[in-house]
């Protein structure tokens, strides 16, 4: 009797899986392509796949609400459709299912040790989600999970037997994916130029925060760059995309521009630095830099990248508001004349 029930349950699960296998696979795929960027590491509080603690509070309101939040976005940082406007809602739901699917497996104390293929895990939640509290930890869970694995990946159960004893085996989809996430430390595209209410330093409960202009609304018409605000400010000014005032209360006062390039020969193999007065005097007054930051005399200012990194010299602005030092070639832009640089360095110059 017991065995028949067990086998029926098993069959039912297999049938269910056959139906869901396609969407589960899709969910995994979508997750890895679109969602993992934030969700794998839990960036800015994004719920991580396979992390029950992350998902439990969100699932309290029901799965429909989770789906809706995925589509519409949340003020806590989830962009609408994760920033992929062209994603079909069914695909989005499959990805959500895939991520929640991991959570239910982790809630069961016996299972996390088993390296379970993510494909098998995804469809389980519907069946298992209601049960976990009632389930005794190991015994009844085992046949269900075994059956689950059997359908989509025949090899999986064999693999499990082989690796079941390895207690510390990493869980694919959560542990492994997190540590090997692509561009792990970079700010993903969806997290750049956030509106004030979501940027992490504003208090989103204040009315003032909500009245402030979101950066993207200003930047969308401006030329792009690869660092800082991701705006090329010099180009924006040159192309008249913006018209910043030169005088506080006069809209039409013209800047006093000085066109003089200073070439600084540098040690080592980097190209020499060309300092353009023109681009700087479009924005700044002579007195902003001279004489406090730079003595107005060629060769009088010693510089090093280390000092600039720490906010000295060029680092007063570059690395704070102007483009940061990651953009090496914007300054180191003059190819060295090989013969001249050899002579210079042997003569003990080259500052």
């Amino acid at each position: 009797m017991r065995t028949t029930i067990a086998s029926r349950v098993g069959l039912a699960v297999i049938a269910l899986l056959a139906g869901f296998a396609a969407s589960a696979q899709e969910g995994k795929q979508i997750y890895e392509q679109k969602c993992a960027m934030c969700h794998a590491t839990g960036l800015a509080g994004a719920p991580r796949p396979g992390n029950a603690a992350d998902w439990a509070p969100r699932l309290k309101a029901g799965k429909a609400v989770v789906y809706r939040n995925a589509v519409q976005g949340t003020p806590r940082g989830m962009p609408p459709k994760g920033g992929n406007a062209d994603l079909a809602e069914s695909s989005l739901r499959a990805a959500v299912d895939y991520m929640i699917g991991g959570a239910t497996v982790v809630t069961k104390p016996a299972v996390p040790k088993l390296p379970e293929p993510p494909i098998a895990r995804a469809p389980v939640p519907e069946a298992a989600a209601q049960k976990p509290p009632a389930q005794p930890p190991v015994a009844p869970a085992a046949p269900v999970v075994a059956a689950a694995a059997a359908a989509p990946v025949a090899v999986a159960s064999a693999t499990r037997v082989a690796t079941a004893s390895a207690a510390n085996a990493p869980e694919p989809g959560s542990g492994a994916a997190e540590s090997n996430a692509f561009n792990r430390l970079l700010k993903p595209i969806g997290r750049r130029n956030l509106p004030p209410a979501e940027d992490g330093i504003h208090d989103s409960s204040v009315d003032g925060t909500l009245q402030l202009q979101p950066p993207l609304s200003a930047f969308s018409s401006m030329p792009r760059s690869n660092a800082g605000n991701r705006v090329d400010w010099v180009k924006a000014l040159a192309e008249k995309k913006i018209a910043p005032r030169w005088e506080r209360d006069k809209a039409d006062a013209a800047a006093t521009v000085m066109d003089l390039n200073i070439v600084r020969e540098v040690k080592g193999s980097m190209p020499d630095v060309v300092y353009p007065h023109k681009q700087h005097t479009e924005w700044l007054d002579c007195s902003n830099c001279h004489p406090a930051i730079f003595a107005p005399q060629k060769g009088a200012n010693q510089m090093s990248m280390a000092a600039i990194l720490l906010g000295q010299g060029c680092g007063t602005c570059h690395g704070r508001v102007a483009f940061p030092v990651s953009e090496c070639r914007l300054c180191h832009s003059k190819k060295k004349d090989a013969a001249a640089s050899t002579a210079a360095s042997s003569a003990g110059q080259g500052k």
Binding site: L43, A44, G77, L185, K187, R191, R192, N193, L194, P196, E198, D199, G200, I201, H202, D203, V206, D207, G208, T209, Q211, L212, Q213, P215, A218, G228, N229, V231, W233, I242, P244, R245, W246, E247, R248, D249, A255, E282, L284, D285, S287, N288, N301, Q302, M303, S304, A306, A307, L309, L310, G311, Q312, G313, G315, T316, C317, G319, R320, V321, P324
Partner: protein
């Protein structure tokens, strides 16, 4: 400002140490805009939220020279000792935020909109990224 670059080795060593500390401690993931300045010299002790100054917003509308030249803002977060009396008196922010060039001081929450207790800092600055999270950022952001 003093330029003491006589011993570049010292600076390089310091930079490497800071970089190592940053890598060991991980990188912060707040999403604020590059160059946003949080000013919290007087706000928190006075029971106000800190001020967030969006550099990008002002840069769209004014050249650097207007504030950093004409109005006397130093290139230093926390280095200007701005308070409401000076602003109402027409100094610093008050040169424009007077109801003339820009909206005036009764819109408290437009400036004082920072998350409570956020320390003075230049957000996303290189030096902020070099210093391990958890260390006083006021010092890092304010240091020249």
């Amino acid at each position: 400002m003093q330029r003491t670059f006589a011993r570049p080795g010292k600076w390089i060593a310091l930079a490497i140490t800071l970089l190592a500390a940053a890598l060991a401690a991980g990188v912060q993931d707040a999403g604020a805009e590059y160059g946003d300045v949080v000013m919290n010299t007087y706000s928190t002790p006075a029971g106000m939220r800190p001020v967030v100054f969006p550099h990008w917003f002002h840069r769209v509308r004014f050249r650097c020279k207007v504030c950093h030249g004409d109005l006397g803002f130093k290139f230093q977060a926390g280095g200007n000792q701005i308070n409401m009396l000076k602003i109402i008196d027409g100094q610093f922010c008050g040169a424009c935020h007077d109801g003339g060039v820009a909206w005036s001081v009764e819109n408290c929450n437009l400036c004082h909109s920072g998350a409570p207790g956020t320390p003075t800092q230049v957000h996303e600055s290189t030096i902020q990224k070099l210093v391990a999270p958890g260390q006083p950022q006021a010092a890092a952001g304010a240091k020249k």
